[in-house]
Symmetry: C2
Subunit: 261 residues, 2 copies
């Protein structure tokens, strides 16, 4: 059974401030908890219904993770999901380690993506397209937000991310490119409404794809490092596409050209 | 000012039963109300803040639409949005007229899309890709649901839809195809996890794209009329893509091949 202190601790992790203070975050629902238990994340505590525990005991016990059995009502009180009849896990956050796109790799740069649902969707898309590194501006929503984790449908266990000064990263990419032979240069693609048509552009195998804020797009100080503006051609009347949708279509176009098959 | 009866009437339109009974639905927020006033939909009533009315009077008065001035609090009480500091409109639903894909046209068939957010996103995507006809199974979410209208970001004014027996439509397409010369045959593409790679498939200019339920995909009785199963290649670990995302990527691939440029 959950103690009052455990309940209070878990509820505190709804908020970024306490996630940072405790170095922990919440993973909720059957599928996501199963995925995190099979990942390299370290799980502090699993709160589970008796039924979920019985079905998943080998997975939970393998890591000697402490378990509390709880009712559905307690699970829902502790967590953020409207309905959760399975489990939640308290998981250690990872160290914020710098990430860079390697040669023959595409990485994402997110410049002020504010909506947690969009960010979670982008993690799932990055995972589908085999884009394992996501660099986030400090103003991007917190990936450890329970809404992001939940919308990512387990993909948060298979992609890596870093929060920091993306302008500094891009400055470094630019100066490295000056010194590098053409075949080792790293492209910086950025999503704009007035760029090159992604249906006809050639794409390099090595590069960053920069996606900007839902309302304002990519900031000017980031845009100046973009080496190729890219645009999804429009055939109808809608003014724009949602940033998650645009990320998927752009990665699909990049992957079609750069993948080995 | 809104009367009690007006408030009650508007609130009743949150529910499908009353939308059908009254033949009316809600459009909320500045942008969507402006779009609907410029469309061929017939608006019964606009409820607006004084500021919104002042800015948009020519648009509202042009159609002699009755207007009630209301406070933000009243707007939010009447409508479904958490915040709405502009306006809502009560709009007449359209007749449910059958739609068919013409030659050299791609139309969507939605087979049990249940989530209103997904459906609204799909309207916006269809609008972006110039796919103006959407055929919905009777079990697909109601397009007039305020969440769908809101998620479509005004695109509901530029696409047409029909609710009915999509199996019957597909049966007819199949029998018409038997009698037609090859260049006039209509393809039926369906999104599956085990279909042809959309990066290499040729696409016909005339066809339907069938998208299935969020959990169960396309029903067997619909699947049997699919002439070409299509799949978005996966490069990473995610099990699936959201149905809205998949619709966008598929239409992007179809449009790249079938568009005149």
């Amino acid at each position: 059974m959950l103690s009052k202190n455990q309940l209070k601790y878990i509820q505190s992790l709804h908020q970024k401030k306490y996630r940072q203070q405790h170095g922990a975050f919440l993973v909720e629902g059957a599928k996501s908890v199963q995925e995190v238990l099979q990942s390299d994340f370290q799980t502090e505590l699993v709160v589970a219904t008796e039924a979920f525990y019985k079905e998943n005991a080998p997975l939970i016990d393998r890591q000697r993770t402490p378990v509390e059995i709880a009712s559905v009502a307690d699970l829902e009180r502790a967590g953020t999901l409207e309905s959760n009849n399975a489990a939640l896990a308290v998981v250690r956050t990872k160290e914020n380690r710098p990430l860079l796109a390697e040669l023959a790799e595409i990485a994402l740069i997110l410049d002020e993506i504010r909506d947690p649902g969009n960010l979670g969707t982008i993690l799932r898309i990055a995972d589908w397209y085999g884009v394992p590194k996501i660099l986030c501006s400090e103003t991007t929503a917190d990936i450890y937000n329970p809404k992001v984790i939940s919308a990512s449908k387990g993909s948060f266990t298979r992609v890596s991310w870093w929060y920091g000064d993306v302008v500094e990263v891009l400055k470094q990419v630019q100066s490295d490119n000056v010194a590098a032979p053409p075949e080792n240069q790293i492209a910086v693609y950025g999503a704009f409404l007035n760029g090159g048509d992604v249906h006809t552009l050639p794409f390099r195998k090595s590069g960053y794809l920069v996606m900007g804020n839902e309302s304002n797009g990519i900031r000017a100080e980031v845009a100046k490092y973009v080496t190729q503006r890219v645009t999804i051609p429009r055939y109808g009347g809608a003014e724009s596409l949602n940033v998650g949708i645009a990320t998927a279509v752009l990665l699909d176009n990049i992957r079609r050209v750069t993948s080995p098959n």
